[in-house]
């Protein structure tokens, strides 16, 4: 089913940048989930006292960036670049956040894969020596996403079984370029794989897991082939927001391509890691915030503590709009991979 070529999709970073700060902001529902204890800031309600949910989304992004910069022992003036994107029309949440933060910003759009794509772009810029640091951030809000892509909040509809719940949360990571002749300990980004846009024909926007799984498989297999690594080499292999159903599909698809999934005990999906079964989220979490909050809490903390040695982080995104969906188009998806490891 998959045509994997050895090509330039993967870059092994010669001057691997380091993760020097990270911060997560999560909503009340996420706080009551499986990773509730790991988040840096947890909201009381999902408004942060703002008048609109869009303003709340911007505020979460600002808090995440400020928190990550502080954790990195840096100041706002020290940051060279902000790489960010979100799910709103014209990616306005991050633009408005950059306005408040007064940081030079390159806006990105990769839907729910933005956490990975911002880290990819940041790593390439820093490794190439153009800048000395950057902050990568993304997030989402259930209510702003729901009213934009799905239904009014007060509509009495029943959710479909394959649907997922958009995360209310934001995560930011500060990266620093490798300094000459300075030996450092910590977490570095050693390689990145930029995904191709893959579409296997799913048209149902309530079944994102099925739509995005092929892209995740393609990037995963490409990465393994290009870096000549095996699944056992990683402490954790994690996809972005395929959800419970998508996770199952991912495993079946990679098994068909020769990966032994019977011994694969180090694979998980951020979408499956956020909510408890009792929270009624059907197939789990989705949204740019899903992979962002899981990375900037659980994953990076475990790397920091040394419990994880090497993590393959593969955020997934669905590149559709309500217009394309109404026009009957299928859902093209993308998956970008980032290797985070302890030095």
């Amino acid at each position: 089913m998959f045509d994997i070529k050895k090509n330039a999709q993967t870059v092994v970073l010669k001057n691997a940048p380091r993760v020097v700060g990270f911060f997560s902001v999560a909503g009340p529902k996420e706080a009551r989930g499986k990773l509730g204890e790991s988040f840096d800031i947890v909201l009381d309600d999902d408004t942060m006292k703002e008048k609109t949910y869009e303003k709340t989304e911007t505020k979460m992004l600002v808090e995440a960036v400020n928190g990550a910069i502080e954790k990195a022992s840096l100041k706002q003036e020290d940051i060279n670049l902000m790489l960010a994107g979100d799910l709103m029309n014209q990616s306005t949440s991050t633009g408005f956040a950059a306005r408040e933060l007064l940081l030079p910003q390159l806006g990105l759009y990769d839907a729910c894969a933005t956490m990975a794509s911002s880290l990819v772009v940041g790593s390439l810029i820093l490794s190439g020596g153009a800048m000395s640091n950057c902050v990568c951030v993304t997030g989402s809000h259930f209510s702003s996403a729901e009213r934009l892509f799905r239904f009014p909040l007060e509509l009495g509809n029943q959710r479909q079984k394959t649907s997922q719940w958009t995360v209310t949360g934001a995560g930011a990571v500060v990266l620093e370029a490798k300094k000459e002749n300075v030996k450092t300990k910590g977490i570095k980004i050693s390689a990145v794989t930029i995904g191709k846009v893959i579409d296997f024909g799913i048209v149902d926007p309530s079944n994102m897991g099925a739509a995005m799984a092929p892209a995740a498989v393609h990037t995963f297999l490409t990465h393994l082939k290009n870096t000549k690594t095996k699944t056992e080499d990683y402490s954790l292999i994690v996809t972005g927001d395929l959800g419970l159903f998508g996770k199952r599909i991912f495993l079946e698809l990679i098994a068909k391509e020769g990966i032994n999934i019977n011994t694969l005990d180090n694979y998980n999906d951020c979408g499956a890691m956020v909510y408890e079964d009792s929270q009624g989220t059907q197939q789990g979490a989705s949204g740019a915030g899903a992979s962002a909050i899981v990375l900037t809490s659980h994953i990076l903390k475990k790397l920091q503590e040394g419990i994880y040695k090497k993590v393959l982080f593969m955020a997934t995104g669905a590149l559709l709009s309500t217009t394309t969906s109404q026009q009957g188009e299928s859902i093209p998806s993308v998956c970008h991979a980032v290797v985070l490891e302890r030095e």
């Binding site: 529902k29 309600d45 209510s143 909040l153």
Partner: protein, 124 residues
Amino acid sequence: MEIFLSFLYTFLAGGVIVLLAQILIVKTKITPARILVGLLVLGAILEAVTAFKYLEDFFGSGVTIPIVGFGAVLARGAIEGARATGFLGVLTGPLTAASAGLSVAIVSAFFMALIFKARTKNLK
């Protein structure tokens, strides 16, 4: 006893129509919007072939309250308008028949939107 029976028929009719719709939702990919439109058109057609009156006499609100009833009301308005004043009656009939419901829907939606704020559901 008679009243109880009539309520029972109402309950059964309404319940069955809704049940069939729910089965379509759960077992097929047909969206709620399409089901509603389908039931609406069905109601209009039933009225056009004069079958709806019989259902209404027997099941009362069991068939008039579901969206089939709305379709029937619109069609009835068109036909009675045609009978009364011909061409112009066809134009004024449907929406006039539905006017009470439409007005209430618009006015209350407007004021509810002004007074209340939409809140995120299911934050547990």
